[in-house]
Subunit: 133 residues, 2 copies
DNA sequence: TTTTCAATTGCAACAAAGTTGCATTTATGA
DNA sequence: TCATAAATGCAACTTTGTTGCAATTGAAAA
């Protein structure tokens, strides 16, 4: 499906900026930060607009927070290549790079105390990537 | 073991500020932020000093980042009540409160690509707490 | 196509979070 | 007690994120 249609289907205007942000996401090999969106964009995007675009996309679940474990949030397209919002990530403690992992780590019901409702889980494996080992 | 000895064993001076930060951690029911350390302290702690104390404790692994999923990092004592740095947490999407979960979630070796070395994992369950459901 | 108008953007100003340099204070061991 | 390295507090700064508002623009109606 075309990016323009994705936006329209969510009631968002298909602006140049938004289409470019989606292009940057599609182009990226993993979760990216606000700053990386700006740096990898061909358009000159205002910082504030990027924050607003990211927030709009989050609300519609076009993207989701990948929970990097680092100081800045990382985002990725939801549903891309089977990427739901519950897949695990790997973060290298040397180079700081975060990548997607295949498969689904499962939540164990037995661990939750009574009264709590689990809706989703975030799993992060920390360690060393092939380059840094 | 006394807090003073813990500090000295790591080669850190047992200052009033550091002992107070440890007291705040022991007093807390779960992972806490920089701001919460300051707010729950009986002493008047400078913001900068708290950042430096937290960083020193992190380096010595006296505390660790609990991977809250929220915008600010949360920290907790390492090894407290069997709390190693690999236990899962629960975060309520309504009230934002983060609590520790019992048990250990397992990392599945099969998911890691060749060349990657896993050292630890962070697991966060998101949902609703008993108060907010 | 042209007009219209709410949605979106960019800018300025602000707020919150985190860092750095340096002078002063303090814990520790001699 | 004294000397000294480590730690603290303060000021200034950077980075990250938010808000108000005027100008622009996409989309739908005329
Ligand atoms: Mn991913
Ligand atoms: Mn915990
Ligand atoms: Zn690496
Ligand atoms: Zn709650």
């Amino acid at each position: 499906m075309k990016a323009e249609d994705v936006l329209k289907r969510h009631g968002l205007k298909a602006t140049k900026s938004r289409l470019e942000v989606i292009r940057v996401f599609l182009d990226s090999g993993g979760p990216i930060s606000h700053k990386e969106i700006i740096e990898n964009s061909m358009l000159r995007l205002d910082r504030v607009s990027v924050y607003r675009i990211v927030n709009a996309f989050l609300k519609k679940e076009i993207i989701h927070n990948a929970y990097s474990g680092g100081r800045n949030p990382l985002f990725e397209l939801t549903g891309r290549g089977g990427a739901n919002h519950c897949h695990p990530h790997f973060s290298c403690r040397m180079c700081g790079k975060t990548t997607c992992l295949d498969g689904v780590a499962f939540y164990q019901k037995g661990q939750l105390k009574k009264g709590y409702i689990a809706e989703r889980q975030k799993v992060l494996i920390e360690g060393l990537c092939p380059k840094c080992r």
